[in-house]
Symmetry: D3
Subunit: 151 residues, 6 copies
């Protein structure tokens, strides 16, 4: 039985590395370009705003966000963007990271989740994280929906 | 603009309640039966084991698990079971709830996630929760895959 | 020795279920009515405000809050409301859920805890959760006391 | 309106300090003796075991546990020991600190909470912290009850 | 091999207690004076502000902050103040305790950490706690740096 | 006033990128080699063991650990390895990530922290994270010291 489930997926894209050690070389600028593209695809205009805010204090942390989070992880083909945003919203709610949660409510809508599905994720958080977390996630979600009405 | 996104979904199943206050009455045994059915559908044999372990200490907490978590929330049609398990695994990893995480690795596979997709969720946890959480989630995942080989 | 400590308490109220499987049927509206009554008893005017805020985004999550949290759990006779609010304040501080913590400072006072006892809980949080959490809980408590002076 | 709720309670025991700055001097050995006495009163034999385990690695951390946690905070008269253990169990469950949670299940019983009341606190944790935390707290509680049967 | 690593350090300052049980007596006012001195040394003007805010609601919690946190722990010679602030910033970021994190950005600068070193700690938090925590820590850091520009 | 504190440090090593956008290209194998070297330097034999355990389930997560955590972040010159391990231990204790905490007790000793300094960090965790976390960190530390005696 194959116990390395991602080896099949890992061979097929730039920067991947099979379990046997073969590595496809690429330079940093490819990772950076891919990262910027994914950041725009995922977060739209909001992503550029976050990046600018991070760069203002630490250009290097901004670079890691672009290259590792978006150039490496979000670029991986083994999970759809829609699935990734389900996980992102849940992780952010579980950690009460409300600024990022709000950014990802918008990213989730861009990725194809409906408003109703986002609410369903919040309702499920009541079971997995408790009602306080779920309520705060719901209020953050409502804030984003309301702001979108104003735009 | 409609700001009650779940009102359309809420009218269509037993126990739902529209925003106007209309409520479909049902007694506890319907919720209970639906919950037991969902528990079996989601967690398979593992769910019955967890339920027995909970009942041994608190029959009432077991009942709430069946009726609220599985009879109410997991029964909701607005989010697929596969999507629910993506969220479940992520919430459990974020809280380091490893016993439940392991149960839900199996539930996720039953719900249609592949082993590779589960690994992808763990990799994404490195971005959202940090490498320590991701590593512990990965080890728990590997433990389940190994145990499944033995079965 | 009896290892099901709540079986004796569980037989005595609507919706309870003994360990032998006997279940007292009730329909959803009883749970809902009981929940609304408990929400008012526990949170007073603040509870209605929270409920309205939740309903504005998700009528179903509001219903679960009323029916499960207040209709089922808060209705249980095995623990006094005063004891429940000691636990509620502590759980909310431990999770840094400050909006809900503030609502429950008022609920705790309604339940019979004195202002001094609430402060004692916050002081004890310095031991169990650390000084940062205790300080933030203290500031939230002070905010509520100050707001009450204005009313 | 008096906004220093603990000033009245603070004047009445050794080491207290009123808001006006008057301080009742005591030396370290009084705090230490009081702490050891409270540790025995609260945790019984289990407390001595924990203290020995801590002293084996850090005599100073053991001293702070005795003097600050038990000599100062647990000695405060403004909250009963039973109330303190309700808060302790909840804080420990919220943080998934299972070794300490198990010690405090025994402390809670010594403080006058019944087994059923402890189970009620765990059930309420399902609302405030989510079902995963509540289940893990329930299993820890069941482990302690089972161990007590063996003694 | 000596398994009590702090016994050598513990004998050398007031209030210390060797593993053999010998204890140097001191009264509360020495701990209090030492605590106030350390609070000023560590947090400067910000510390006095925090203390006043705490005293306004609980003079006793303020006293414990001064006497235990600063009079006992921060006074210990076994770790430099600079090292303590590295740990303080990290613990506060990990718990998302942003008000205290901001106070300690200033304390860290006073303790000899450079702005760049504080940013490095935040970047490392992306690895250990995830990017959401790191971003929120970065924004809090940037807020403090900006406020310092205004002073 | 320069508000980009890491720009000066960022220009001086491979892969860095100044705030003006200039980027020094390197391919993946340089990051990978640097990461393996740092992993060995930081974690010694324990690091190779962890890496192998991660690779057994996800070669890609292992690669990110090596390349991002150790090749990028740990390679940064702006903070010493000793300082990094102070932060690592604290972050791991704050998250109760005990397997990784134990690995980093050894890494901290390799980085120049003494056993006594590690104990001091644990004692300080009692202030910042509460006594439960500090006790669990202390027991984990004691376990590592004891295991080292056996080697």
């Amino acid at each position: 039985m194959n116990r390395n489930p991602d080896s099949s997926a890992s061979a097929s894209y730039p920067g991947s590395r099979s379990s046997a050690g073969h590595q496809a070389p690429e330079d940093q600028s490819e990772r950076h370009m891919r990262g910027l593209a994914n950041l725009a695809r995922v977060d739209g205009h909001g992503g550029a705003e976050v990046l600018a805010a991070v760069e203002a204090v630490s250009p290097d942390l901004a670079r890691y966000l672009v290259e590792f989070a978006f150039g490496d992880v979000y670029a991986r083909p083994g999970l759809s963007l829609r699935d990734r945003e389900i996980a992102a919203l849940t992780a952010l709610a579980a950690q009460s990271a409300w600024p990022q949660f709000k950014v990802h409510v918008r990213a989730a809508l861009r990725a194809g989740l409906t408003r109703n599905e986002i609410i369903e994720l919040v309702i499920q958080a009541a079971v997995y994280c408790g009602f306080p977390t779920a309520l705060n996630a719901l209020f953050a979600t409502g804030d984003v929906f309301a702001a979108m009405e104003e735009e």
